[in-house]
Symmetry: C2
Subunit: 216 residues, 2 copies
């Protein structure tokens, strides 16, 4: 690193290398798990010395945690926007499934990373994913609570419903990914996954509408 380089340029370069390490790891993780990934494999792809890794991350676990943020932040933002829509239930369900579809088409490696490492061998990453999904559920719960149909619901039940929705999003993303990995991105099977996902969200919504009538 040259001392004549202005601070801003140095920062930008450091940021670029950091992102290159994240991208390289994500690529390598398409075929393996984080617990079997070698630090040298990652630096070799980027073309930097193994020691350079430590200027950016303490270890592969810390890199994995950064990948968790990168994987979930965009989905998080988009779903939040859908939840805030002043739309009918049916329309909101269509938008939600469309958001998940786009997410899997545009960021399949991120989706695979989350699905694989959610129960993977690296505890720090498992905990980061659980923490993100937990915050996600809390946000969904806050959005659900503000809707009239939640009147009279206990906080526990709103949270229970929010977790059901978040799990549905995760499972739907996994189902799309399975179809995509089978090379079927624009087929009958892909549309069947979308259709099933919408019906399932619709059934949960019916359960929600009649929850109190059913004496629950």
């Amino acid at each position: 690193m040259s001392h004549s380089e202005p601070g801003g340029v140095r920062q930008a370069r450091k940021q670029r290398t950091r992102q290159a390490l994240l991208d390289a790891a994500l690529g390598l993780l398409e075929e393996q798990s984080l617990s079997s990934l070698g630090l040298r494999e990652v630096t070799r792809v980027v073309g930097v010395a193994p020691t350079a890794f430590y200027r950016h991350f303490r270890d592969l676990g810390e890199l994995g945690v950064a990948l968790v943020q990168e994987s979930l932040s965009s989905l998080h933002t988009t779903v939040r926007a859908v939840l805030a829509e002043q739309a009918g239930a049916e329309e909101r369900i269509d938008h939600t499934v469309a958001v998940v579809e786009r997410y899997v088409r545009e960021q399949p490696a991120h989706v695979r990373f989350i699905a694989r490492e959610r129960h993977g061998g690296v505890r720090a990453v498992r905990q980061a994913i659980a923490g993100e999904l937990d915050r996600f559920a809390a946000e969904v719960a806050a959005a659900l609570k503000s809707q009239p149909v939640s009147g009279g619901w206990s906080d526990e039940d709103v949270r229970m419903l929010a977790e059901l929705y978040v799990d549905r999003l995760v499972m739907t993303a996994s189902a799309f990914l399975d179809v995509r990995d089978g090379g079927d991105q624009d087929t009958e099977r892909w549309r069947a996954v979308a259709c099933t996902a919408r019906r399932q969200l619709r059934l949960i919504d019916v359960g929600r509408q009649y929850w109190r009538d059913a004496g629950s």
Copy 2:
């Protein structure tokens, strides 16, 4: 292998070694993924030569597929029994969650294996898990279809509901496993997971009862 050994004894011994290999792999997989497991690690634990492995499995993928069968067969059988019960919805939900709880307490390593390898790095194992869960959903669908409340439902909707239930069982097992891994097997958190799981199944059941009324 001695030629003076009777066939039955030889068969029994072969079966024991095969089971020892499965058990050793399952133990090693508590801390890593199948894609990073070494064949020699497994044979070392069992105390046989690496070449002996091939008398039982073609490769670690084939061993993984055998572990899938072993992991899901008992749960499969028990859930099938619950589905056949002539009980009310509430009671069936309680039994279902109790079955999942017992499964996680008694076979945590099997549950972890399925959760981890469902999206893991070994395609043959991913496909075996998907195939088993698919057969599971088909059985649940057949059981649901025979219940009066399914009158007038399309086969697609019964299947959609069955997949929702199977996903719920898998997610509930994962949630119990997370609590258990945190060392909280008999605490408030464990009971909270059971309670949430029952409420979620109840909400899905309400959705099911009112599905046609809601014009779906």
